[in-house]
Amino acid sequence: MLEIEDLTVRYGPFLAVDHLAMSVGEGEIVGVVGPNGAGKSSIVKAIGGLVAPKSGRLTFDGTDLQSVPTHKRIELGISIVPEGRGLFPRMSVEENLVIAGDPLSDSKRTLRNIERCYVMFPILKERRWQAAGTLSGGQQQMVAVSMGLMSDPRLLILDEPSLGLAPIVIGEIGKALKLLGAEGLTVALFEQNAKLTCNVAERIYILASGAVRHHDRAEDLLNNPEILDHLM
């Protein structure tokens, strides 16, 4: 579904992503783990169109992404929950969801999707009129994931969803992602938290210094924790 070939991202002299290749297949849950500064966020930004790659090719269902402007990529079916959650902090929970549903241009579907989010995270329904920026970190992450789902994406990309969250909340987020995967959604999870990633994902890429160091099935990695320890 998503093919990345030979991707290089530079910020001036700093090489963030170095000739990287990876792919995400339809219906898969793929994890990308790596320490801080390994280039995870840069890959996500390149997919989203927030940075222009120095070289490389990104295709989604055969469409060259670099020919699609940033704001049109969501219409292809790619939905990105960026690092830092990408909320609109001064708007209410519900308004955040409405904005995230705007690309559908269908108010009925938006309403239906909002209800679906409230079923998944009931606390959000209670807090629907509260400004998103005043919620707890975990609740904010629930809003972020919900926003990612509002546009009925085919591929959901999450960047560091566990950052700053308590372990119990991380567990809840993990459960929700597994559930979405079971419903047939394709998910790409970019994470520092290898444990969470291995629990959720089927296939794992391990990154370091902007390149793929290891690529394996999640089960195998869980069975050989020394590889993870060594690589991270």
Partner: protein, 293 residues
């Protein structure tokens, strides 16, 4: 309360409302542009006067009905804004510290427009007076108020209400606010950030134009109004919190009442300074503005 005192009291309120709603319009226009594209538009006073002058030409020279002229003036602002945005403003969108570039740019625009106005309209500068929208007078208690000014008040408040509705309930309005709050996140949610910038610039200027034409319908004006209005709008925006539309409306109304009340109990000269005093005092305690976010 004697009749004379009641008249003074009521006129303070009516003046506060009318002036406040016009101040609010202009400050909202300035704050929308600042909040979205980071442009502290020092030329807002000149845009305001441009609207008033266009209204004067349309009604007095061409004989167009003032209501139609008002709509035309606000309409004209849209292509003007898009033209200016296309030629100049958009070139700075990716400059990191563009607010200072924009400030200098808008000062340049101010100078140019000031020169153009002086050369073209200067010799009529004592006669800028538009025909009223409606005639007649309504008594509020013992105070006679021209229906025309009541109409201006109603229009200013309706425009503010429509603007709030747009920003809150329309997809484009939501997009503008989303870009205010988190530009990258908005792009990822499918908002065309640059189109939203252009739209905010045009919308902000349209509101300033609306303020200008309504002012011209309520009051006689001359070219010096531009400078006073620039300072006032900036002060309102800074006190209200740059980028805050609600702050601009509330502080704009408060300014209107302050001017009316201080000039009643003290003098018009002190009233003119009271703004700046209030601004300094508030910024002393809340440097980011009252409704800063």
């Amino acid at each position: 309360m004697s009749d004379a005192n009641l008249i003074i009291f009521l006129s303070t309120i009516s003046t506060g409302l009318i002036l406040g709603s016009i101040f609010a319009l202009v400050a909202v226009g300035v704050t929308i542009v600042y909040g979205s594209i980071w442009m502290p538009n020092a030329a807002n006073g000149q845009f305001f006067v441009l609207a008033a002058l266009l209204g004067w030409t349309m009604t007095v020279s061409w004989g167009i009905h003032p209501a139609i002229a008002a709509i035309l003036v606000i309409g004209v602002s849209v292509p003007l804004s898009y033209g200016l945005e296309y030629i100049l403003v958009r070139r700075f969108y990716d400059v990191p510290n563009r607010n200072i570039s924009y400030f200098v740019l808008s000062l340049g625009i101010t100078q140019i427009l000031t020169g153009i106005f002086a050369a073209t309209y200067g010799r009529w500068s004592d006669q800028f007076q538009l025909p009223p929208l409606v005639s007649g007078i309504t008594f509020i208690g013992p105070l006679p108020v021209a229906n025309n000014r009541l109409m201006v008040l109603a229009l200013a408040l309706s425009i503010l209400a429509a603007l709030f509705a747009l920003l809150r309930y329309h997809r484009y309005g939501r997009a503008i606010r989303a870009v205010f709050q988190n530009r990258d996140a908005a792009a990822l949610r499918g908002v065309n950030v640059k189109a939203s910038y252009s739209l905010s610039f045009a919308l902000g200027n349209a509101v300033i134009f609306a303020g200008g034409i309504l002012f011209a319908l309520a009051y006689s004006f001359d070219l010096t109004v531009a400078w006073t209005m620039s300072i006032t709008a900036f002060a309102i925006m800074i006190i209200g919190g740059p980028g805050s539309v609600l702050g601009a409306v509330i502080v704009g109304m408060v300014f209107g009442f302050t001017q009316a009340a201080v000039s009643t109990v003290a003098s018009p000269t002190i009233a003119a300074f009271s703004y700046l005093g209030a601004m300094l005092l508030i910024l002393l305690f809340k440097p980011s503005g009252l409704f800063a976010r």
